[in-house]
Amino acid sequence: MLRVIIDKRRNPYFNMGLDEALLLGKTFTLRLYGWEPPSVTFGYFQRINEFIDIEKCEKLGVPYTRRISGGGAVLHMYELTYSIVGHKDVLGKWPEESFEIILEFIVSALKNLGINAKREGINDIVVNNKKISGNAQARKDDRVLQHGTILLDVNRELMDLILKIPGVKSQDKKLKRVSDRVTTIKEVLGKIPSRDVITSAFVESAMEHFGKIYIGSLNENEIILAEELANAKYKNREWIFRK
């Protein structure tokens, strides 16, 4: 059975520590969460100063850390974030299969909210050709972790200050600003539905895609491991600046 955790807003170190703790565990879990304060995470393979203005992050008090998953840099602010972990027999034996299975679940959830979204490329979900959700994946042994964002609203000024586009990408997409590329639930629906409505949409989609669910909570061991990882790894400059 899928355990669904309606989690709260946490700092980036604990959020990433917890996602990794869940990957290292044995459960089948969907966690819905948020970020406090606004934070930046970036992909395992990214070079730190290419995609993010670290100086601005420091100046503005925006904490940042490196994920274990690949993909790009994200400013986490007004968003619903999900992570889902489980065995590859359920979540996809190959990375592409996992992206397909899990992004279908997200697209469905958005449809439940009245949003006509579709997949684009490997790991994006778009509405009217603008990105509303970015997703990233990590795998370990037989288990899969996928986590992603669904934008409720956006502070375009902050996003454009902090996130950079390296030369090729901006030419490729003919963009002037990073934030030109994104849209939000608020933009699409004209409002942000209540937390309960949004949660229900995702829980409904989870039941459609993964069968029986129960609303559960984190156990003590998961919290302890998440804290250990947050302190030893995600707060650690050696990890953050490894590339």
């Binding site: 393979f45 990214q46 070079r47 990375p95 490997i122 795998r139 990408k169």
Partner: protein
């Protein structure tokens, strides 16, 4: 096609193929001193890229291209061919440094 430029003593080459990939390389007398591979792609297991970078030190371009062929890695957003062509381009660019 990958483009090339120099950057802080490195020869750099980048490509956008699904995802963004950039390689930075330092070469001395045809031997790779340092190789940095970065971008917003996915690779499984993720440490395969770390292994590739470490292994490239002290090797020739051909060694590294062969290593990539034999490397057990599942790339998403870029291909082994992308990786090889960007490394080749960066290596060629390094000759002019």
């Amino acid at each position: 096609m990958p483009s090339t430029k120099t950057e802080n003593g490195y020869s750099a080459s980048e490509i956008k193929s699904g995802k963004y990939l950039k390689v930075m390389i330092k070469v001395k007398e045809n031997i790779i001193e340092e190789l940095i591979i970065h971008g917003d792609f996915f690779a499984f297991p993720e440490d395969a890229i770390d292994v590739l970078e470490k292994n490239a030190k002290g090797k020739t371009l051909d060694d590294v291209l062969k290593f990539i062929d034999e490397l057990d890695v599942h790339l998403v957003g870029i291909s082994k061919e992308d990786l090889k062509s960007v490394i080749k381009k960066a290596f060629e660019g390094a000759k002019s440094l």
